[in-house]
């Protein structure tokens, strides 16, 4: 039952069956991870760009910490967010634990350092190129940051995709703060964990295949958007 061909057929069958439960899980996975990445970009891209442009004492240390945080263990982030959102925690009154919002917060925390660190690296290279131009225009830091983000937008879309890849694939954080509640907080990765624990390895693998397909689809969509935008820009 766990040979590649039958797994593939099972995955195809699941996708084409129009099973509302599966589509609900897929939709929630996308909603949670895409929202988390959007928030991470809003915070991480300006932060990364600022670190590429502005020099201040201790900047090297900040960059080293940021780079290290790319490897934050999801289970630890999940635990911290759980303790913060627990009814006995500081944000308990919001009642956010075991909701998709809690999962978005956890994934955003996980992905923001990754996006900031990768953005900084990519924009620092661009900044070297633009340095003289910026000097001649006497641009302020805010304008430099905005210009770098805009001109680096294609490589930054890859940075965002890296963040999305980390978010959609992680299970450690969302299973703690979401609780893997059916129809409420069950996403692809936690569903796979559940089916594995039921010993239904074939179904777990088929879901895994669908998850990989989903990641491929999102990547293809972003790359095509990039290409279309470039064509427009140079037409």
């Amino acid at each position: 039952m766990t040979d590649p061909a039958s797994i593939f057929l099972l995955a195809m069958g699941l996708v084409t069956s129009g099973n509302p439960e599966l589509y609900g899980i897929i939709w929630l996975s996308l909603r949670v991870s895409l929202t988390a990445v959007a928030i991470s970009c809003l915070i991480g891209l300006p932060l990364g760009a600022a670190l590429a442009v502005v020099t201040f004492p201790g900047r090297g240390a900040v960059i080293a910490v940021l780079n290290a945080f790319m490897g934050l263990p999801p289970v630890v982030v999940g635990l911290v967010v759980y303790l913060l959102l627990s009814r006995s925690g500081p944000f308990g009154v919001l009642g956010l634990l075991y909701t998709p919002t809690a999962m978005i917060i956890a994934q955003a925390l996980l992905v923001t350092p990754l996006i900031a660190a990768l953005a900084r690296q990519s924009l620092a290279d661009l900044h070297l190129e633009y340095d003289e131009l910026f000097r001649s225009l006497r641009l302020g830091a805010t304008d430099k940051i905005a210009a770098l983000i805009w001109d680096g937008r294609y490589s930054l879309s890859t940075v965002a995709l890296a963040g999305f890849g980390r978010a959609i694939a992680e299970v450690g954080a969302v299973i703690i703060v979401g609780g893997n509640i059916e129809h409420v907080t069950r996403v692809m990765t936690t569903a796979i964990a559940l089916e594995t624990s039921k010993g239904d390895l074939a179904l777990a693998l088929a879901l895994g295949l669908i998850l990989v397909g989903l990641a491929v689809a999102v990547n293809v969509a972003v790359l095509s958007l990039n290409r279309a935008a470039k064509r427009l820009a140079y037409a």
């Binding site: 929202t35 959007a38 928030i39 809003l42 915070i43 300006p46 627990s86 009814r87 006995s88 925690g89 308990g92 009154v93 919001l94 009642g95 956010l96 634990l97 075991y98 909701t99 998709p100 919002t101 978005i104 917060i105 609780g179 893997n180 509640i181 059916e182 409420v184 559940l194 594995t196 624990s197 039921k198 010993g199 239904d200 390895l201």
Partner: protein, 280 residues
């Protein structure tokens, strides 16, 4: 500055959107165990309760130890677990209102077909555990402070086996849920203690089969408690109590009784209003 305020607005919007979505349907959070979730019991009984009351029951399935801890923190309205001593402590400490017995099933010792410890067919769980230890046959333990883990430790103690000393050798503490532990046992041809419900619905058995069953020591009682609203005022006492009343009443007990996999009944209702204890 502008970007951070946009981010803050987005977060607030998200938070309100999700709370608004939750306000539509009355729901409670049930902290329960992997054994009940993995067996499929909740999928069977919760829709019946929802149809009757309109209340959605959201299940968080963890080990008994963690379920009680989450309940004590107020992260749940009702707790349904299976370790009597720990449940009574939970109520005595003021975290739960009252413990009510709901149903039982039993544990089984599963092991590989080859049966290196020669325990197959035995009805004496403690003696079987001793033989497994003497043979140094691999044993996969939950190791996660769950109800099943505590039940397993309660068998090792009278067998006079120090599993802590054997950990990493023949005793493998997996620190994971029931299903994961069975996956591990199946992968390394190890013995394991499992609740019958999870075992019957478990699909990746490999060469594992039941080797010991029917000992009174393998009895597994489930109890339900409302998280104390006096301690955590946000607890949905009305809806939570409605669920408990239903579960231990005739309708809930019948729903539990009617849950079968391949014709086999997995849980036996025995609330005070239901039938008497059978095993033991």
């Amino acid at each position: 500055m502008r970007l951070t305020s946009i981010a803050a607005t987005a977060l607030v919007a998200l938070a309100t959107a999700s709370t608004a979505a939750h306000a539509q349907d009355p729901f409670i959070i049930l902290q329960s165990t992997t054994s009940t979730e993995n067996s499929g019991l909740f999928k069977h009984i919760l829709p019946i309760f929802k149809a009757k009351t309109g209340i959605d029951v959201r299940v968080v399935a963890v080990g008994t130890g963690q379920a009680l801890k989450n309940g004590a923190k107020g992260d749940g309205d009702v707790v349904l677990v299976h370790t009597k001593a720990a449940e009574e402590k939970f109520v005595a400490d003021g975290f739960g209102v009252k413990r009510i017995e709901v149903m039982y099933n039993d544990y089984v010792i599963v092991g590989p077909d080859s049966d290196p410890a020669k325990v197959a067919g035995s009805k004496d769980a403690v003696a079987a555990m001793k033989k497994i230890a003497d043979a140094k046959a691999p044993f996969a333990s939950r190791g996660d402070d769950s109800g099943t883990h505590k039940a397993e430790l309660d068998l090792w103690a009278p067998a006079g086996v120090d599993v802590k000393a054997a950990s990493g050798d023949w005793y493998r503490s997996t620190g994971s849920g029931m299903g994961q532990t069975l996956n591990t046992a199946s992968g390394m041809n190890a013995y394991a203690l499992a609740d019958r419900g999870t075992w019957i619905s478990f699909k990746n058995r490999g060469s594992l089969k039941i080797v010991v069953e029917g000992d009174a020591k393998l009895f597994n009682q489930y109890g339900v408690m409302l998280v104390n609203p006096a301690k955590h005022p946000h607890v949905k006492a009305k809806e939570g109590q409605a669920f408990i009343d239903w579960l231990v009443g005739a309708d809930g007990q019948n729903a539990v009784r009617s849950f079968k996999i391949e014709g086999e009944q997995l849980f036996f209702p025995n609330a005070a209003t239901g039938e008497l204890k059978k095993a033991g």
